[in-house]
Symmetry: C2
Subunit: 352 residues, 2 copies
């Protein structure tokens, strides 16, 4: 059952948004849940598809191809410099839709709330989601709410699922990289992971670094108009750019050579990584993408990316090469070569 | 990021499905996560849409109307008589899609795993999901996996999101009930909630009652062919039939009169409810639906429902009446009348 429900007017009681907390009854399917949904979620997310309040949303479909993507968000803490779990959960799924070159159309959202969560925190999160969805122009059309006992969850987990439409002629997949292609990133690497990590650990440099959480669909829309034949798009989130490049290398059965001195990394992020003993290549991003395209299209693509605020630090960082082992290699600043391997341990748990 | 990824063949290490547990590295985006996905999820869910292993699934869209529904599943325990969280999470979302009269087409699934979960339990759950999806004929096309520390979750939470296509001419909504309509239920009430509750509390009658968890899309397909003008369909899950009827009454601005002696309730469920001090009207079902249609269509609809295994105990339980207060009333077996109110407390937490 989806928990979009409504309150009998005669029974409406106002949620105490200042001092109230999530109670088990908010997940019961009864009156308390209906109040939470009506006074919290519907107020924030209202739109024509959500308004009928059925257990599912109905909308017109388009001819052609659609994409669907889902992501659970378990980031801790819930609020961090530059964002929170609410906007992150919208951006993350919008970006996964955009990485198919698709126009995001609809979002579904499901909450798992822990008993005792302050309603004021939930309100802040929900309003952040609503604002992010509104900025993106994508309605949250259906949803669900569950509550678990204190100690069986951790504040809020949010699962967002997105649906988008792929424009005619666009065929983007991790399997499409070809030897000779150029590898482009849209901006500085590692901002999100370091911002969250520094804040979590209460490190002194935390104030200078913010999460890059952002929706990339507009940037992508400009990119596919300029270069409809982009081969690969992917957002280097959990596991960082190293993981993303290894995934693509594997899917396309190719190798890669990237160049350390071309990687756009903020000085503060580099410093924090040195301090923490982390490698920025493995740090999560939440508002960046990797694009791979034919060499002849790369300069054009780079210029289009740099013309958009979310791509102004875009850079060509390397090339696709033939390699039966599907290795990602890096030419270091000192002139050496090293393999950029898959992450084998756990660097930053619960980063998204 | 969606965590559909693949393992470099050279690095493949076999998961220890017998003695292994979920570790934080299984959520890292790195090698351990890729192994989990490849050796657990892909093996179980394999299909043409999932196989490209991008962060989103791409599929053809149909002309017309689509429906989308999402549900998080937090049922405890993970395994219960008649089912488990795996098949439940498939059935629940398939049913929400079917309740729009739609044909379910695609499923997305997102796991939140707790550190320490035995891999053998996860395998059992994943295989149950795969089997349920296969029985329904709906592929799981994309997914995500997150891991939280021991104590920050509770074994497994599963969020499933479904997409379906509404046949031409079908317009089913909780807002469509009209005075004079008949209210039909597809079978016995309260089986799921009592099965889980009895098992949880280790009650002696537990062996005789099983969850009714089932996918209702075939039953619904037969129903909409026979009576395309069904006004309302809804599955009375969390909060039971009392909550569902109150929701519909509110949405349609009507009242209802149901008849206690027509309610199909198993003797064992009635006995368990008496023992536990519970009202079967508020107990969750996971394989039942409520249908509301014009009085002239009701007998026809009932016969079609009874001809299907999942509707063989279907019964007309009441009528829609005019009521500005939107009350759901019940004629009791003793000849009295009572209001069947919204559930105001919490009867059975984490039932789905």
């Amino acid at each position: 059952m989806s928990a979009i429900s409504i309150v009998k007017p005669g029974y409406s009681r106002k949620l105490d948004l200042k001092h109230g907390c999530i109670e088990m009854t908010h997940g019961s399917g009864g009156r308390a849940m209906a109040q939470l949904i009506q006074q919290m979620f519907i107020v924030a997310f209202d739109n024509e598809y959500l308004r009928p309040m059925n257990d599912q949303a109905c909308f017109p479909s388009a001819i052609g191809r659609m994409v669907m993507s889902t992501d659970s968000h378990v980031v801790t803490p819930l609020f961090f410099p530059g964002g929170d779990i609410g906007c992150l959960s919208v951006h993350g799924t919008i970006n996964d839709i955009a990485m198919a070159g698709a126009k995001p159309c609809y979002l579904a959202v499901s909450f798992i709330l822990e008993e005792g969560l302050p309603l004021s925190d939930l309100k802040r999160i929900v309003e952040s989601m609503a604002k992010a969805a509104q900025n993106v122009g994508v309605p949250i059309v259906t949803g669900d709410t569950k509550v678990v006992e204190k100690g069986s969850g951790d504040g809020v987990f949010i699962t967002t699922t997105g649906l988008g439409i792929v424009p005619e002629g666009i065929n983007i997949s991790g399997a499409n990289a070809q030897p000779g292609d150029k590898i482009v990133v849209s901006g500085t690497l590692g901002d999100h992971g370091i911002a969250v990590m520094a804040f979590r650990e209460n490190l002194s440099f935390q104030t200078s670094i913010e999460s890059d959480t952002a929706a990339l669909h507009e940037l992508v829309a400009n990119m596919v108009v300029a270069v409809p034949k982009i081969h690969v798009l992917r957002d280097p989130t959990r596991g960082g750019i190293a993981t993303t490049l290894n995934e693509i290398a594997q899917q396309s059965s190719i190798g890669m050579m990237i160049h350390e001195d071309r990687l756009p990394i903020r000085q503060e992020v580099n410093a924090a990584c040195e301090f923490l003993g982390l490698d920025p290549l493995y740090i999560a991003n939440e508002g960046k993408l990797v694009a791979i395209c034919a060499a002849g299209d790369a300069e054009n693509l780079l210029n289009v990316m740099r013309a958009h605020p979310l791509g102004r630090n875009a850079a060509i960082i390397g090339e696709v090469i033939e390699d039966a082992h599907c290795f990602v290699q890096m030419q270091t600043s000192f002139g050496g070569n090293r393999v950029v391997d898959w992450l084998s341990g756990e660097q930053l748990p619960r980063i998204c």
